[in-house]
Symmetry: C2
DNA sequence: GAAAATATATATCGATTGACATAGTTTATC
DNA sequence: GATAAACTATGTCAATCGATATATATTTTC
């Protein structure tokens, strides 16, 4: 009999054990996808890391791709949760024609700080950060979902704020490139922590605060250069 | 008889045909490693792309890893060539206790501009840029060579200049993080050009000039914020 | 406690991978 | 033009991949 590729969620009160297995698979898969990439991480490795047998992956996620998509969906939900504090205020400010440059700059800083929070908090941060970095280069089935979400939650808000501060159109490719450079300040920290650069600093505790401060200071400096009349 | 895993170089005047085959393999491999990653690119794909048969790879490069290392070596040599114009002047300025903040800032801009040149010029730029981005996440045998070179040619010079401008120690983790953020402005443009962001702008012709200008302006703004007494 | 649904384990499939043994072809040197 | 070196082509190897068929164990429902 063919099993329905169920998501595994929504089983209320019946079997809590399966939910646990599902979560263990997700955790092991996140670490291995982050460390070895989508093609590099084998389903056998993942099953072994989760302490389950091979067909459990098919049972819970249909196939390898379904497992990967489930992970991406978790990250997307996490991102939306962390950004939900700032984005409404950003939208309000963008709708307000009276918003000042310093107000907009402050919101830009807060948006970037929220992005820093996304990549530095929660369980398995190091692995989640690597998935972010891998999304820049890999071409895995589920990544377009993550790109779409990143554009909506992070890039577009920053672009809109930055364009208003610069007094230019959002459609101007120059503003797209300027915004990319701005966000690049944060994305660079998503690289492999085994790299010589990040091995030296580490992204825990007080260094996260320092990182937010640096992003804020450098962003404000850039915004200040954009509005010389003030 | 077992063939010596020769590098293929140095054959002077004898057989020029093999040199051509070797180059074709390198070109096809660069594109495929960039597009699919080290594990994702199969030797059969590479051989087919180069118009040669499978054992030719072993003949010229020993094995898959040797082929990859040869590509990295090409990129490293290219990087050194592009950076050789600025780095001596950077070293001279760092040795000069009288160097002013504006001189150091100007050299920092030129170093970053040279880095932009590295990732935007030469043949197969798109693929080479992707290798740079992949170096941030992948763990392929030859990449430590590239990391080492990147530290030496790009990161450390920027760190030294930036620390002097800030009046802080190079060993200060804050300066490491600030320098990372600075370089992140450029690295972000190395991502997959099929991504929605870069698909919109494109990194050819006048956009390269615009990119250099943006990096310069934003870097100067950050440096200016570091030296408020001026 | 019997039946049904849920969950886990064993064994194996075809396809693809990197590598290689072997043989044939071309080119330069003497 | 014979000999050796440089180069290219054919066929095959064990290992690993994702996926699945099948059987067993556990838990819930009635």
């Amino acid at each position: 009999m063919i099993n329905i590729p169920t998501t595994g969620r929504g089983r209320q009160g019946t079997q809590a054990r399966g939910e646990d297995t599902r979560r263990r698979i997700l955790e092991a898969a996140l670490d291995l996808f982050a460390a070895n990439g989508y093609e590099g991480a084998s389903t056998r490795q993942i099953a072994e890391g989760a302490g389950v047998n091979l067909p459990a992956i098919q049972y819970y996620f249909g196939n390898k791709e379904g497992l990967y998509r489930a992970i991406i969906e978790d990250i997307v939900a996490d991102t939306e949760r962390h950004m939900s504090g700032v984005l409404p205020r950003v939208r309000a400010a963008l709708d307000d024609p009276e918003a000042t440059a310093s107000e907009l700059s402050e919101l830009l800083c807060q948006t970037l700080e929220a992005f820093v929070t996304v990549v530095t908090s929660g369980p398995q941060v190091d692995s989640r950060r690597l998935i972010f970095a891998r999304a820049e280069v890999e071409e895995t089935p589920g990544l377009d979902r993550m790109h779409e979400n990143g554009m909506q939650q992070i890039f577009n808000p920053c672009l809109a704020l930055f364009a208003r501060i610069y007094g230019k159109s959002e459609a101007d490719p120059e503003m797209t490139m300027r915004t990319m450079a701005l966000i690049g300040q944060v994305v660079i920290f998503c690289n492999n922590h085994k790299r010589p650069i990040l091995k030296a600093v580490g992204l825990e505790g007080e260094n996260v605060q320092l990182m937010k401060q640096i992003v804020r200071e450098q962003t404000l400096a850039i915004c200040r250069a954009a509005t010389p009349e003030k």
